[in-house]
Amino acid sequence: MARAATTTDAFNAVAEPRRRQILDLLAAGERPVNDIVELLGLAQPQVSKHLRVLREVDLVHVRDEGRQRMYRINAAPLKSIHDWLRKYEQAWNARFDLMDDVLDELREDELKEAEAHDGEH
């Protein structure tokens, strides 16, 4: 299977744990780069690199305020991840719903057995 470049979609972008941390920070509100650097305890160039990836898949938006660059989250691309998880979840739900039927039967069998047992006494 061909591998997509890091920056092609939200899946790849959030596969990196630091980028998820950045998104978590921005989920609470808009922040300047310096803030993120300080809170993550990373070097500025590293943070900038992560932010660039997030920007390229449109997960963050940026604006200049005076000399500061302010970043904010744009959660829309995360929907593709959510949708994928939903699909996976639905597949498992279909399985487990059928398993519920099996369990109901097993339970009935046990009850019947117990009753038959009681009848013997």
Binding site: T6, N12, E16, N93, F96, M99, D101, L103, L106
Partner: protein, 163 residues
Amino acid sequence: MASTKGTAKVTLPADNQILITREFDAPARLVWKAYTTPELIKRWWSGERGTVVSAEVDLRVGGRWRYVMEADGGFEVAFHGEYREIQEPVRLVNTEAYEGVPDPDGNAALVTTTFTEKDGRTYMEMLSELRDKAGRDAVIDSGMEGGMQEGMDALELVAISLD
């Protein structure tokens, strides 16, 4: 009793992990039975996407399992693996390889399933770890982001196989 229908939750706790949780309105011994008995597995494992044509279970440490399902599209989807830990009816550890990828065993997931019973109901946690750290790190060293994507790709394939 509250219905448990459609309550499975899927989360991604780490880069190489998928966690599926689900509650069952039945005691753990019955959940274990449904989960590990071939005739019963045949009734649920394919979900609504096909028919289980084969379910082999050799339930002992080092024993192997293999499920084959014929998907509604007519193609076969097969998984196999090995049992690593068996603690009836509370914990099962096994590998899980999807036969549709290159080197299925090398890319196998390690799946830890726990069943916790409370008031006659069973809470299940199924944690799939998609690659071991050494293997993942090797890929990361060679291709930076590769290891992270590996997991996502594997997940994608699993998802496609379920379609």
